[in-house]
Point group: D2
């Protein structure tokens, strides 16, 4: 079986990691080229990873015939348009979350994907994280009975730099961060979110108010089959990168996540202490590798994607509803999951939160 | 200093524990009598605790002049009326939560307390639990900066028996259980709850639907100074009694609670396992003792109560708002904390959630 | 059933706790009197515990006919002689460990106990600690298969005061501290210690060298049926009171013990931290209560003691062998367990480690 | 800087992992060839790793001029002879532990290394494990004061297959397994082991008796500066791969190691449970990568090795002394560390445990 030729578009922190994984750790892939609007960065990454080709634009990369698939890791507001371009060029697409900042954009990109007949995976890496993967299996095996309650927190140690928020190019907290929790909610509860209610706060990072963003949010959820839940996101915990999820079922419960980074306890007269996870690239190193490994394998073997465009669209719908709830100070219902389930995969007509 | 003569009214599970603590573990108290509508139960407890007097009604106990204070541990719907009677009889009152099932009842009882000039403590025992007490101290010492996010879960292993729910004598989940979380929220955030939003569920104990109750709830909270939070309650975790609270501040965070009961890890080819806390009398044994110890000491030394009627009224107000939010499917604002703070201690005019 | 009249001899830290437990928490006992060479201390304890009688000598206490049993909590070098006096006076005896500082003394005391036909319990409180009790049950139920490896550490936060070591009145580390570990070893392995080898150190508390004592020791053990193990004791951990035991069996293992005192995690930019157990009265509060509760119940109901004089003698034999190993720089074999098992309960002829 | 050409000799479980790391994860290395007495295995590994050259003997590999360094991962009894051959051929050597099964062999190999002027690293991968590395740094920074007590356990879930023990080709438990603990002891205590005493057992795997081996051992240690310690090894814990180390210092302590593999807690009516580490390739994945990364970097940059032949010789000396102690039922003193420290790096005259 020949290798899958891949290009990586956008080589910031995460795109660079994807490129590195493709170059070093996924034998079935062949990293052909990287592109970045910052041509110097593209060049440096190519040099470090010992590959030949680098570009300062998307189009040149997409023209290469030895590239059959791309990884889209640009700023979020370009996700949809780059996905569309890549699909039109006949490339399979692995796209970072969120699929877009607006529902219409996401739907349009998914339409292009469907029309081109290429494969698409959205970057919900937690679905490939061993603790979460094992949780899903245990739930499916009935270990905790029927899931009835979902809780998840996502706390960053420090907020991204100011530039991250300028121009809204990455979406607010609800889109940029909470989307991971909402995807977990749908996946682990095996249900759709029917209604949400959010409160947001700006007491940790008051400077975010000027961007119309919040630094923290709690989002109540009601699921289609009657389960309930809550998601919390926080931009600045100050103590560590803290991702923890609980699913309570009718017969038991699962807790996923950990806090201690180094397997070491320091004991002094001040008590016991340990260090905490400090970065998402550390916490989810395996997950980032596994998700791309699956993508490459699925394209080569023409297997269906596990986390496809529909998964991206539905999580995005929850994000937008949660954001609207916060803005309008009221609960927001999502369209009936029945209808959602009736939709075809690229569901052009998907409407939510109206 | 002579001992404080005390009677215990209601000797079910918790009332019996209070009586035992007063008899055995609080030297400054002298347990004089117990009363219970079930006279046989009162007699048996008196016998086991080696005290002389037992009654099958409140009035006879209140008539004893050697009793200066009472512990009210009846079913919740009698809390307010028994408190009123005791106050009129000139007895200091320690009353289990909730102070009443309706705001008006609670206010009326507090008025009687104020008029009689007796002392009153509400049974929020967590405020006397060492981990929570230490948390409060650390917060006051500025250890985590300004509190900005409050999270708390309260999960019972199994729901109370069917009789507990009949006739609504103990209030719904929001009053009976969530009141502890709301009190913690106000206390640890050092702020008032300004608005709440609830979702409730009945998937763990569907039989509760017939009583108009829920088995689970998630309650979003917005605090007066801009903090946010969420409280979760569940009647049936099936795995243990699980009470955990987190307070995140601008500089750090605190987690309170534990799951493992016996300090023992069992390691077999199936992995590692340990047992879990199975009862609130175990988890909060120290707290139940400490709260009564404080009450006795405060009455004897004429010190102010730390958890007085106002604390009970305000937590009750949050409960009622959370319940209303669930029933009416909308966020419910509480009266401004400014006004609450302007009220006198027995605040006859306190109105909330209308 | 009438109550058991008890006197407590020696009301230092631990004796005082025993007295308090008897007075407040063990309804079947009636604390009649306390005695202490420091008559003022005896008087103060009597006053605080609201009992009438206190003495500055053993004899007067033993003369009281309303006292049927005594608790011996004097300095260790008096344990044997006070036990003998009490037995001769016809009192049942609960004696703190070690039973004596010399084998001959211990045997002589046990002979007196046997001759008087009174009951005797040695204060190995860990046998009544819930985690250890549950471990024993799991082992007996075959949960871990056949026990093959025993590990235990006992670390004090700080050494006792200088006065504790003067005159050797409490024995060295091997007798005073390691005896708990050796008793656990015998009990949990359900086997006798056949041979020991010790290394001792004085690097934590160099001042102990002048008393011929060590501050730390590691003791290798070989058991009668082929199991092996190691015990570690340390006078000064500086970080907390740390007692942890492991038993590995052919099918699994048990770990007993804990480090965190308050159920609270503090999270700051420096990482996660928690406090540690700081005192044996905290760690073993339940155990101290339970062991006396058993003693009182067993005397009243004429049940056999679970931790009798033989248990004390055998653990003492291991202590003395471990100490000899350290002094003579060689492994020391104990007498065959076969012979030990052939002995009668008060085994006057018990000889070890010569 | 050009890449370091490397060959891997022996591609069993661990050799294969080394080859994979060199091929995929260490950019500065170029894996040229693999060799294995089982030529088919060498061929398959070469194919999977997409490299051209594979051999069924050492000599052919050593002849290649594009190979500047080798990794020796043969059965232990060949370590010394292959090291010698490689050194004579002018190759730098990374050799798995133990350096040899006999002191003389190890010394002879180290002499050949010294004479050839090549670099040598011994595979004590724990020195490159992040928790252990951080522990060493904290100790050097004085965080726990002066180290006074060392404890370490190394438990395998299941013993190696029967073939592992046949012919003694890998040494007994003391050499094959305990060597890691002894190396940690020397490194973390920053001291030499002066005397050891061992007990061994065969109750977990009675079949090992026929090979003259034990399945478990406890080894008391006395260090040159007065510290003491104990090491425990077990071939069959049945519950997981359990490696934990403690260093107690005059001001505090460190605990290194962990038990839970997946960051997940399963809660059911039976209690709480989690899975355990099941394989050393999982626990020490980073360490295996880091140690080779250092080796490659050190050779290319002509930096001194951190874990050189002397470290291997000294740990081996402790192993042999511990084994002798077990066989001869007596404590065994090692040669004075003063003399050891006076030796040159390849210390031909090193004698121990006689």
């Amino acid at each position: 079986m020949s290798k899958l030729g891949i290009g990586v578009i956008g080589v910031g922190t995460l795109g660079r990691r994807h490129a590195e994984n493709l170059r070093r750790a996924i034998p079935a892939a062949q990293l052909i080229a990287v592109a970045d609007a910052d041509g110097g960065r593209a060049k440096q990454v190519a040099s470090e990873l010992e590959i030949q080709h680098h570009f300062d634009n998307v189009e040149d990369l997409l023209e290469r015939e030895d590239i059959q698939a791309v990884v889209v890791a640009t700023p979020s507001r370009f996700h949809a348009s780059v996905t569309r371009l890549a699909a039109v060029a006949g490339k399979h697409v692995f796209c970072e979350k969120p699929p877009a900042l607006l529902m219409e954009e996401a739907e349009s990109a998914m339409s292009a994907v469907a029309k081109a007949g290429v494969q698409f995976q959205i970057g919900f890496m937690r679905r490939y994280d061993p603790p979460y993967t094992r949780a899903k299996k245990l739930i499916e095996a009935g270990e905790i009975g029927e899931p009835i309650l979902f809780k998840s927190i996502g706390r960053d140690r420090q907020p991204p730099p100011r530039s991250f928020f300028q121009g809204g190019i990455n979406g607010t907290l609800f889109l940029d961060a909470a989307i991971h929790e909402f995807d977990l909610a749908r996946w682990l509860m095996n249900d759709e979110v029917a209604e949400v209610h959010s409160f947001g706060g700006v007491r940790a990072c008051p400077e975010l108010a000027e961007f119309g963003d919040v630094d923290s949010a709690v989002v109540n959820m009601r699921f289609g089959r009657g389960g309930i839940g809550n998601v919390e996101c926080l931009r600045k915990s100050n103590y560590g990168y803290d991702i923890r999820t609980e699913v309570v079922g009718s017969r038991g419960a699962l807790e996923i996540g950990y806090l201690r980074q180094t397997a070491q306890l320091v004991l002094t007269s001040a008590g016991a202490s340990y260090d905490t996870v400090d970065h998402w690239l550390v916490r989810f190193a395996d997950a980032y590798l596994n998700e791309l490994g699956y993508f490459v394998d699925a394209v080569l073997k023409e297997k269906p994607m596990q986390v496809d465009g529909q998964e991206g669209l539905r999580a995005l719908a929850v994000c937008l509803a949660a954001e609207r709830s916060h803005r309008e100070s009221r609960p927001v219902a999502l369209e009936s999951s029945a209808r959602l389930e009736g939709n075809t995969k690229n569901a052009a007509g998907l409407e939510i939160a109206r």
